[in-house]
Subunit: 526 residues, 2 copies
């Protein structure tokens, strides 16, 4: 199967992935992501298009000085030379040559119509562009991969020409020719047939670059690999233009865990979840919770039906062990779950509810009651734990009594508006009146509340609000709508999520903030 | 291929889809979604599990009176009878029988280990449960489908038993036996082999129910159909537990547009985008922008490279015409796009920039300048249009001059906190000082602003803020962070999106609100 020995796992998040709507990466972001991808053990990181994109030129410049990759090789992406100009004289080709990358991936047209209408040149000249540019960069000492753009559409329109482009690149010294489903419209069986034909007819070393427009990017990649491709391109978290590139972690996890193909350095797949989420933090796109393998819901079980079986044997309901990709199994508490889920959740949090059926029944009833008013405990373990403690011990932990709070945001003649909150509370027998400022009402309230409590409990100084989610629950349009807020608080080492509900978003946020600090103090053993 | 004539498109959003983490549907929500699914022309809508889930019992009761489905048949889901009890005496089976649904889908264990450990009964009794329950419901006049739970894992563990479950159901009168990849771990080639074997060996009519744990739910569904399945189960928008069910619209669009299979009533696929987004509004889960076919980014083109080719022929860069699924091609303005994208975008909005290269150059420069400070025009067409107007005519449309604004949220001894905003501005020569209230600071400001402007321009009365998105752009941690706000305003007929940027989230929101109203007034021809 591996005609050529090693298998290439090739990430193009920093180039093709960056074409996703709304994705804007700074050079610093790109360097950070490159290090994260290297931690996963990918073989190649396509860093961008130096020369064409000023940000990317800067990236390669800084990468040469600052990036110390342990596993991956940095590749520079760019197109074949312009028509009618020698590769050696083309400044954009020079930028690739001078990028410092040891590998260059050249994109070339392999669809005759694109050569005609987009490049506006002849089929012969396009082949010369391929031959000349690949040959030039090889002679200058770089390894070259070729991305055959629109390959599958080109193969259908003019099979002979498409294959000729591949041969030309390969004969000129390209080590891999990646067949790109640029428009993303292929289906797996079609990909398989084409890859078989390409390999049988030309003998080139084939790669696959799939997009998800038919919802089959992962399957198309696997089909190509099964047909003999030994190089797969994709993006972590499936980033990319339109519907995205093939999700590289999904492809790799399938290869390693289901197809017994060893494509990453040993042991690194177990960091996949951590790394996928870390990259998502940098891109500022919240990771899709339903994402295969690494999504926060990927191993989260809700239905009461499943939860009772999981008590018996987790493998009965999971297609693989979550630890193999660094993920966790989670049991969700919700109104769909029966007592089995709540009992298991309680146990997970350190409460043994199995010995007291009536307590379990009242906890279950209270959960359903609160959920009917808009609370959710599914994603708010800390709030659920406070609830359990209240019902098991008879008293909810309390560290302070709030008198009042208010927050004002107003325009300033000096510049931007500032938010200012005043909180009045009693803690440890003393009354505190504190004003805090922030870049928004919730931030200002958080500052004021923590400063006020911090006078009695210094532990809160290191707490920090690190995530904030708002959802409007449409019980009816307009003033009826309930707002639910989820807040994630961190103490620098770990983090916890609390929930707040109300008609007013600031009121709901306040509830989650108070719970978050209460829980945090509880954890500290105060 | 169609041994049995018609092909079944079967949606289980209201049952399996509802098991998605965070998804909570009221009975009213379910009725609304059922009507929406019917509008797409699906053949079957699985409404829930009456008898086991009180909300679902209520749904079926109300459906009988209120749902008038034109295309779909409502199905009730439930399990085979309990071990050791006759189907005719089992109250949960009675609930299915009495649900009013003309079709019942029974879930049965087909994996021997599940029969043993989860059901805690014998393999023979499980077959009797299948035979008895299917037979009973058939005798009572309902059509019966069987969901063979964990079928593929069961087939691998004990092929003979798994096939025996299918035969038993079919012989007892089930019209379809749906093979469920309950844990979602299958890959397309494996599914194909199993489906071929099932059909060759038993001759049953096969359905497929795939989950996306391997990222191959759509491909697995297509593989099964290619191997002879004539019934496909999935969820609109790919809802479902863990990684979700197969995205039913993706499957259907692939069948109709790429595989020449007519599976929906003619003409209805063109409503897919509208319906997918409408269902997302009800579930309160924002639709995934990268979703195949119906996602807002599915046909959105960003790279300057592509935009210049699209000017020539859209089919060069799209795998299908967006209109076939009711979607649109969009060109994104961003710092990755060159002048080609901005020129095309300008033309889309009614500005001809091609005649003035220096104007195009300064617009492009201004866009990049603003994007460097945090603005994005990609999703904010209305703000981009105001910018173009400012640069083309030399003046930005202005309808009012703001003096100041402030918003206060404070606790009330009477109940929840209330937000109150005061806006001072001049419009049409008069000064207005208005106070508005709301369920949050931005809502209160919006009320005050529109009331203030409404005194000079009554047109704004019908404007409504319908969507609000906040993103923190991490230029550095803490006080440096820029907030970007996108606001969608509607006048009841159409809607537009504006963007605001600032260090303070309320300041950023204010900017987007002002642009939103300005643009709205401009549209009205004021």
């Amino acid at each position: 199967m591996d005609l050529h020995g090693d298998f290439h796992v090739y990430d193009t998040t920093l180039r093709d992935g960056a074409q996703q709507e709304g994705l804007n990466l700074s050079v610093a972001d790109k360097l950070t992501i490159a290090r994260q991808l290297d931690g996963l053990g990918v073989g190649y990181i396509e860093g961008g298009w130096p020369g064409a994109n000023p940000k990317d030129t800067e990236f390669f410049r800084r990468a040469a000085a600052e990036l110390d990759l342990k596993h991956a090789r940095l590749t520079a992406f760019g197109s074949t030379r312009r028509a009618g100009v020698r590769a050696a004289d083309d400044p954009q080709v020079a930028a690739l040559r001078d990028s410092g990358a040891s590998v260059v991936t050249l994109v070339a047209k392999s669809h005759d119509r694109h050569v005609d209408l987009a490049l506006r040149t002849t089929l012969e000249e396009n082949l010369a562009m391929v031959r000349d540019t690949v040959g030039h960069l090889r002679a200058e000492g770089q390894e070259v991969f070729l991305d055959a753009e629109h390959f599958f559409d080109g193969y259908r329109a003019n099979r002979d020409y498409a294959l000729e482009v591949l041969r030309t690149a390969y004969d000129a010294g390209a080590s891999v020719v990646a067949l790109c489903d640029t428009n993303g419209g292929m289906l797996p069986d079609w990909v398989s047939d084409v890859v078989h034909d390409v390999i049988d007819t030309t003998g080139v070393r084939v790669g696959i670059h799939a997009h998800n427009d038919s919802g089959c990017a992962v399957a198309n990649s696997l089909a190509a690999i099964d047909a003999g491709a030994t190089h797969v391109q994709g993006c972590i978290n499936g980033y990319g233009e339109r519907t995205g590139n093939a999700d590289l972690v999904t492809v790799v996890a399938n290869l390693e865990l289901k197809l017994a193909r060893s494509v990453l350095p040993p042991g690194l797949l177990g960091d996949a979840t951590r790394i996928a989420h870390a990259v998502a933090d940098v891109t500022n796109f919240p990771p899709a919770s339903r994402q295969p393998y690494v999504g926060s819901s990927a191993f989260a079980h809700k239905a009461g039906l499943h939860a009772s079986a999981i008590k018996v044997d987790p493998d009965l309901y999971q297609h693989t062990q979550p630890e193999r990709v660094g993920n966790d199994m989670r049991l969700l508490v919700s109104d769909m779950a029966g007592r089995a889920s709540i009992e298991l959740k309680g146990r997970e949090l350190g409460f043994d509810l199995s010995s007291s059926p009536s307590l379990l029944a009242s906890v279950t009833a209270r959960v359903k009651e609160l959920e009917a008013t808009g609370f959710t405990f599914e994603a708010a373990d800390a709030s659920f734990e406070l609830l359990l403690e209240e019902m098991v011990t008879g008293a909810r932990p309390t560290y302070f009594e709030v008198e009042s709070w208010r927050v004002i945001t107003e325009t300033s003649p000096l510049g931007e508006a500032v938010s200012e909150a005043t909180v009045k509370l009693r803690a440890s027998g003393e009354r505190h009146v504190v004003t805090g400022e922030g870049n928004g009402p919730v931030n200002a309230l958080d500052q004021a509340l923590r400063t006020a409590i911090g006078q009695a409990f210094p532990e809160v100084v290191k707490f920090e609000l690190i995530d904030y989610k708002v959802r409007i629950l449409d019980q009816g349009h307009g003033t009826d709508a309930i707002t639910r807020v989820l807040i994630e608080t961190s103490d620098g080492e770990s983090s916890w999520v609390t929930v707040g509900v109300g008609h007013n978003v600031i009121e709901a946020s306040w509830g989650a903030l108070v719970d978050g600090l209460t829980y945090g103090l509880r954890r500290q053993g105060v």
